[in-house]
């Protein structure tokens, strides 16, 4: 399959305008190009309103672009969505509070029409992956925020998607839990061979996780820089104290700052992208 297409995600000249004909027109994205190769971990980073969540939603086909083309796994985003090619994780876990942890993980499998026994088996596997198998029969409200987010990740991975789309998944977590979750995510992606597009506000998070960091700027939202990070496959807690780590952080920070200093006088739009 991989031979048929080189890129998991291909974005070509994507433009997204909200309220085009109205006074509160927002140019959320203008002429954005992005390629994500298999096994890549690409972070989208930038200030609020730079369109990084919009870009993620275009890839997920939760939004249709105003102009430009996208493809996911060599298909239209619409077809990729229908065929369950990606899993998505949001800032909030979004678990269904009337379903047990196991049943939450089973949800996408149910919709895909899996048989009950296979479903249960896969759900337990996925919960083992996020170290929550003991909590399979708990209800979501019995779990902490970090645990709930791990369930959401297990749910997104249940259909074994080639692509994982994550919209500030650790944004609501405390720093300790956050670092732990980052390490867990890297371990899981390595184990499953998942390609990831990851939206974040945090520079250290982007640098720690990514093979590439894509720097974006606001109003209009566009890509201003791309930094290859490549801290290697054997990242661990020591990596966070590495000189190389700090060097990359500085690099990303300067890219963000250069963009801000060079920016045109900003138009006031007052619109943040979630």
């Amino acid at each position: 399959m991989v031979g048929e297409y080189a890129d998991v995600v291909l974005v070509d000249g994507a433009t997204m305008v909200f309220n085009a004909a109205k006074p509160n027109r927002v140019d959320a994205l203008v002429d954005v190009d992005l390629r994500v190769a298999p096994g890549d971990f690409v972070s989208l980073i930038g200030p609020s309103g730079c369109g990084k969540s919009t870009l993620l939603r275009l890839i997920a086909h939760l939004l249709e672009p105003t102009a430009g083309t996208l493809s996911v796994n060599g298909k239209s985003p619409d077809r990729a969505r229908r065929e369950g090619d990606y899993g998505m994780v949001f800032q909030q876990p979004g678990l269904f509070e009337w379903r047990s942890v196991r049943k939450n993980v089973e949800l996408p499998l149910e919709i895909d029409g899996w048989a009950r026994a296979r479903r249960a088996e896969r759900a337990v596997e996925m919960l083992e992956l996020v170290h929550l198998d003991e909590f399979a029969d708990h209800m979501p409200w019995e779990l902490s925020g970090g645990m709930q987010q791990r369930v959401a990740i297990a749910r997104a991975l249940a259909v074994q998607p080639a692509l994982l789309l994550m919209d500030e998944p650790f944004g609501a977590l405390d720093e300790m839990t956050r670092e732990h979750m980052q390490a867990e995510l890297l371990r899981i992606c390595a184990a499953e061979g998942t390609t990831v597009v990851f939206v974040t506000h945090s520079i250290p998070e982007a640098v720690y996780l990514s093979t590439r960091v894509v720097v974006m700027s606001a109003r209009p939202g566009r890509i201003t820089d791309e930094i290859a990070v490549g801290l290697g496959g054997d990242r661990n807690e020591d990596t966070r104290e590495d000189d190389e780590f700090f060097k990359r952080i500085t690099e990303v920070r300067e890219a963000l700052r250069a963009d801000r200093d060079g920016a045109d006088v900003r138009r006031v739009s007052g619109v943040e992208d979630r």
């Binding site: 939760l62 998505m88 209800m139 979501p140």
Partner: protein
């Protein structure tokens, strides 16, 4: 299990103690000031009237209770059905929502005499219809809110799964609406009882608690009036307890954090 019993008793004893003290004070005041029976009978007098008239009170309670129950069940069924129709066809929602709000603001029970004329007054039909109407709007407002107010995140998630509208309904909207339904029933059950016996004040068959209360009060037979009131209280508490019990079963399943916002 014993823990549950102990905690239930722990919750129960203060109101029980209060009730006993209240009845004791009532008895004492009537005795101490020598209050006349036709003004306020003592609890002991009401008790003996209830013991004497228990057959009649029980029959009247049964009649009124059956009206309340039939009306409640019909109202819930109709309210749930209409909520789905409103969910499916937006136009019905736009039509029915202001109507439901308006009907909540007027004392709709005054139309009982009209119903009595439309349907024979020699049957229980007008009373049951009245109860059904009251319950219908309570259920409609709450359940349609439950079907609509799903978390935007859940909607986006279902879209990312390419779930059909039917799947979204079955897996997201209906489970979301279940606690709203039980909240509606909790509000509607006592309302059904009140409606059932107030409807009897407007004429019709002379067999329920409402009639028992008016006819005995008319002859200043106050002990018996209060015996019927006791029957009405028992009925209201029974309906409320059952509906709260039903609600508890869903709360236990879904956890303590439930969507609020029930309206009558």
């Amino acid at each position: 299990m014993t823990n549950r019993v102990a905690s239930t008793l722990g919750v129960l004893w203060p109101p029980v103690l209060f009730g006993v003290l209240f009845l004791g004070a009532w008895e004492f005041i009537v005795w101490f000031w020598g209050i006349e029976q036709f003004l306020l009978p003592a609890p002991s007098a009401i008790w003996s009237a209830l013991a004497e008239e228990i057959g009649a009170v029980w029959e009247a309670t049964y009649v009124t209770g059956a009206n309340a129950l039939v009306g409640l069940l019909l109202g819930v069924a109709l309210g749930v059905a209409m909520s789905f129709v409103m969910m499916r066809f937006r136009i019905f929602n736009d039509l029915a929502t202001p109507l439901a709000v308006a009907l909540n603001a007027i004392p709709i029970i005054v139309i009982v005499p009209v119903l009595n004329n439309m349907f024979s007054i020699s049957t229980e039909v007008p009373r049951r219809l009245m109860v059904m109407l009251i319950v219908f709007f309570i259920v409609l407002v709450n359940v349609s809110k439950g079907l609509r107010q799903v978390q935007p995140l859940h909607v986006e998630l279902m879209r990312s799964y390419a779930a059909s509208p039917w799947t979204v309904m079955v897996k997201t909207r209906i489970p979301n609406a279940v606690p709203f339904l039980f909240t509606a029933v909790k509000i509607a059950a006592p309302a059904a009882v009140v409606t059932a016996f107030v409807a009897e004040y407007f004429g019709g068959r002379q067999n329920g608690i409402g009639y028992g209360i008016t006819s005995s009060a008319a002859t200043s037979n106050n002990d018996v009036t209060w015996a019927y009131v006791a029957g009405a209280c028992a009925l209201g508490v029974t309906f409320f307890t059952i509906s709260v019990g039903l609600e508890k079963t869903t709360v236990r399943q879904a956890g303590p954090r439930r969507p609020g916002g029930a309206t009558t």
